[in-house]
Symmetry: C2
């Protein structure tokens, strides 16, 4: 079933121990949408500048992504530049030019409003809330956030996530949001803030899922070669919500959809792992559902006991 | 089947965010032996000083541990003191008094030499080799090491592990030993050095097992409260080898004992998790096999998909 994704569409400059790319398509919305497009129909809401390349637009369209909500504004597209550490567990931002993204005011095309699934990528919490309010009656709503909103826009963020069915964060963000060091206690606290389901992404170490019925932990997929981790967390989110949309899971049966939620976490991990294999969105251009399912099975084989 | 464990028997002074203990029983051999004692018969080889408390000796004996190989030498017992960081992922050594351990020359009582299982705790590689040579024909030999031996005694260490069936290290040590950043490639390289099976302990993030038949990854057990991580890696080793000994797995069928090896990794994780719940060996005094198996099942429930 159809999914709406909101977030940044950007150009990135990235350097990792495996090389350097001056400028390539990026942004949370882009990664989430491309990843989810292997599972379900996707419609995006975002803003780009006059410099947005027609070949990048063509890539989104080639994956069946509805770009009716992709606004083209005067000025330049959001640009981010960063460099990764030797082990790629840390990165330093060298440049952030918000450009047209600074005035992003997401407006949903009428055709989007009845859609059942909504994934709010990491943007200002008040904007996330405004998008949510434009939807008629979504079956399932969740999203992502980051340290900056947790520290400097805390009240706004708390008011926003109160309406969500699920929240996706990394361990550091979970600890920051909950003010708890222990992950399990952090999760319990966050779930009392609104989202009844929480996914904590742990990078190369996998992910943990918390629901009112209990928790699920998955190790990371062991990649032989990590080329560029940019977007892996967003690809995780895309695989997670994309799978849930394909399975037709709604908030109403969310608490008892344990099996589907666990599978969604694994599909998220699978998509995040593919993302790391090449620079930018390269690996997401022409994956096949067959490759995705093969890796899902590989995951199963490597974790069963 | 019977297991011989060699390593340090010590007193530790430990400070964590949950408190401070000036002096308590510790040492790799102690933790490994106590942990393994829940699975199989254990005989230890170590050295203590004149200050070794009779109540600590009594604890070992109460767990059925054979202390015929525990030498009592003139002087004081090995003493280590350390303090953990707020998140307990790092620790700083404040004091290391080798004392009688500085002249440790492990000699196996004749009654030990025919025993089938040998776990070489983290001591000088040449001493580990000498112990191995005193055993007649063990069914399965493996051990642990640390960064100091990898960097400063590399050749000696390589010669020692060449004779082992398995090696247990943490991620940092695996990277250091292999000179590879990527964990999967690090594992392949280490396996070419001798040990056909490798277990990489990843602390709170779980463990990875590598065999010629493929790999297995397990997330960490999510503890609500980590009081003191000291000895958790050794308890992992004790649960791992202890389970293999109880299942009668030998080096000959090691490569095809995939299921048992995976279960051994989970039992290792279970024992490591119990260890963290209290200071020192406290939690290992009176566990029951029932509690251990219940946590094994909990692990299964939290990882199946």
């Amino acid at each position: 079933m159809s999914l709406v994704v909101v977030g940044s569409v950007a150009y990135d400059g990235v350097e990792t121990p495996h090389g350097k790319v001056e400028r390539m398509l990026g942004g949370a919305c882009t990664y989430i949408a491309l990843s989810a497009s292997y599972f379900t129909d996707v419609s995006i809401v975002g803003v780009v500048g006059e410099d947005f390349d027609s070949s990048d637009e063509a890539l989104l369209v080639s994956r069946g992504i509805d770009i009716a909500g992709l606004e083209r504004a005067p000025g330049k597209t959001f640009f981010w530049q960063g460099v990764y550490s030797e082990d790629m567990n840390d990165r330093t931002t060298l440049r952030t030019d918000l450009n047209v993204f600074a005035r992003f005011d997401p407006k949903l095309p009428p055709s989007y409003r009845e859609k059942p699934y909504l994934l709010l990528g990491n943007i200002q919490p008040a904007l996330q809330r405004r998008v949510r309010e434009q939807m008629s009656h979504p079956k399932l709503v969740g999203g992502d956030t980051m340290n900056y909103w947790i520290s400097d826009f805390r009240e706004e963020l708390l008011e926003t996530i109160r309406q969500w069915d699920f929240l996706l964060v990394n361990d550091g963000e979970a600890r920051m949001l909950s003010e708890e060091t222990n992950l399990k206690r952090a999760a319990e606290k966050i779930m009392s803030l609104g989202p009844r389901t929480l996914v904590i992404k742990r990078g190369e170490y996998g992910a943990a899922l918390f629901t009112p019925d209990g928790h699920f932990t998955a190790p990371g997929y062991l990649l032989e070669r990590v080329v560029d981790p940019t977007g892996a967390g967003d690809c995780f989110a895309g695989g997670f919500i994309g799978y849930l949309a394909s399975a037709g899971v709604s908030a109403a049966d969310f608490a008892h959809a344990g099996r589907e939620l666990r599978r969604a976490v694994i599909y998220g991990s699978v998509m995040g792992s593919f993302c790391c294999e090449s620079f930018g969105v390269q690996r997401l251009r022409n994956l096949s559902r067959r490759e995705i399912d093969a890796r899902f099975q590989e995951f199963k084989a490597a974790t069963e006991f």
